[in-house]
Subunit: 357 residues, 2 copies
């Protein structure tokens, strides 16, 4: 090791997710939306005057914040916007989790929570989901430095109702509770309403799934003005300009087209339910998904084998080689056509497996 | 204070820079480029297929990195790209400055250095610029946990030559040395060449000034593959997707149009030299600027008074109420027309000041 290398931060190197470059692939591995963004997004980009780019963007992101505030029926000072919900969540960890007590999040959940905790030297504990992958709310009634969980959870797809969320918040008035609602638009109930009642509740959402804008990197948080001010203060203190002009302008248009938003969500939910039925007919078990993906396991065949087989057919789903979930697959809901290809490939797999067993 | 507020990170709240909303202003306060970005930028946005936005952007940012690598004659694994140079610099602090020894940067310099150091709990020391605002290279020959300085420095506008930079790097083979070249394209010499000789040297640049793209948030770093890999590992470990698709595509086009780039830089340098002459004729002293701004002081009139007067004329320049530089103004180089308005207003100010004294 060279002398100057000894002060470099050591991390576990990340291997970027598969972005296969073949043309005919069915990409069901990163929970993207199969439909394009609202038409206004395309219009906003077409009409954008690139001459404006010479100036810095509005650091307060007022236009997008006020559009979101109006849509969700909150005040503009109750909205925070960032470069994807990863940016928003990382900022929330940095702002709110400064206790010596451990923060709490489920043992099976979004893989970046322990990463951000380590990054900011935040101690954490991970209550176990029960044998049906359900959160046990009483596990979150002990002393803690903060709480975070996704609802629906990922990759389990399981959603808790608002009563469950409220119980956790009510029992944790001394901590900040963060509900990560990346997938809530596909059948869950948002806790945004509860932010009006509980000043210590922060709800985080994203444009990457239900608004078909993963490529634009927009996430946001909604909470009491005190929570939002604390996040803004931290953000401004070290990076004033984060959202570029095209993200701000196109984000506004995506929110404005509520009809298209509802229509797209509905299509995905319908496809999900049909896919679930077909998979069950093939012998798959699954959790009750309220997300844009299914979390499935097969009675007879190993998840890893199915995953490998689908790859050979250019169908990409997600396999996690992790304790408790290493016999599960996470399958993104695509178009009906994509899901038919998946089902067809799985039918072939099951037939083949039968004939060779 | 409410119970849940006690674990919130305390920061000095930031007051966003003036973004005056009147129409006829002359905005010379944030070092933006007065000219539009290259034509290819506008074309890239017009031709962008917003349907692509449903997918995540390429996390490796390969297209933009390889374009920059080709332009600067380095390898693609020697380039890091981020959301503006603030993002790149913050990531570099996090990655490289993990020693218990203090990092070193000048007492008068970019205001975010101490902020990032505090954020990541990095100790620091600030050698004083001499009475002419020059860095004293021997001040950087002592034990340290890393070194960072802008070249040209901001807000002093003073540039050091490559021999000076190389001496500092040569004398600090046990640390990472970062040269922040936000303003280097306006007359300075880039240290990128030196990165081929010194594995511990990182050079950071931005699209916000010389490429007229402050509104798009693009910054980058060039250094040895070991330095870049360390930054990428840290970045990927907690936020995989940072650059949105429009930033990647328009950034590529900006780099490709070298002719326009050179033409714009030349115009700004010419305007700077003419403005400097006019200001000297009005009794201003100034440093030798190699940036897109001038750092000026008047023999007779207080900087603060001039600043306030210009505001009343809707001309915005930057005043820092800080030790040693509180009688200076930082004036961005705009178009010839904008600078003529500035000079005219200053002529009026000087006449008025004479007649009322």
């Amino acid at each position: 090791m060279k002398a100057w290398e000894k002060n470099i931060r050591k991390v576990v190197p990340y291997v970027p997710g598969e972005q296969p470059k073949v043309d005919d692939i069915v990409k069901l591995n990163t929970n993207e939306n199969p439909y394009p963004p609202a038409k206004g997004v395309s219009r906003a980009l077409l009409e954008f005057d690139s001459n404006e780019l010479k100036l810095y963007p509005d650091p307060t992101i007022e236009e997008l914040k006020s559009t979101l505030a109006e849509y969700y029926g909150v005040n503009v000072n109750e909205v925070f916007v960032g470069v994807g919900s990863d940016d928003v969540l990382a900022m929330a960890f940095l702002t709110f989790f400064n206790s010596d007590k451990p923060i709490l999040f489920p043992d099976i959940t979004y893989s970046f929570y322990p990463v951000w905790a380590d990054l900011y030297k935040i101690p954490y504990e991970c209550p176990k989901l029960d044998e049906n992958f359900m959160m046990v709310k009483e596990d979150y009634y002990k002393e803690n430095g903060g709480i975070i969980f996704p609802n629906p959870n990922a990759p389990t797809a399981i959603c808790n109702d608002l009563g469950f969320i409220e119980d956790i918040v009510k029992n944790n008035q001394e901590s900040v509770v963060i509900v990560d609602e990346a997938y809530v638009d596909f059948g869950g109930e948002s806790a945004i309403e509860l932010t009006k009642k509980y000043e210590n509740l922060l709800v985080v959402q994203t444009f990457s799934k239900s608004r078909s804008m993963a490529g634009m990197r927009i996430g946001y948080a909604i909470g009491s003005k005190d929570l939002i001010k604390a996040m803004e203060d931290v953000k401004y203190s070290f990076n004033s300009y984060t959202m570029n002009m095209t993200a701000i302008k196109s984000g506004v248009e995506a929110v404005k087209d509520d009809e298209y938003f509802k229509e797209t969500k509905k299509k995905i939910v319908t496809t999900r339910e049909n896919t679930a039925k077909s998979l069950k007919a093939l012998g798959f078990d699954m959790t009750d998904s309220k997300a844009n993906f299914l979390f499935v396991t097969h009675k007879k065949y190993a998840a890893r084998d199915i995953y490998e087989y689908l790859r050979t057919k250019h169908i990409f789903v997600r396999y996690f080689n992790l304790p408790r979930i290493d016999n599960y697959l996470r399958i993104t809901i695509g178009t009906d056509e994509q899901m038919e290809k998946l089902i067809k490939a799985l039918e072939e797999y099951c037939e083949k497996a039968v004939s060779t067993s």
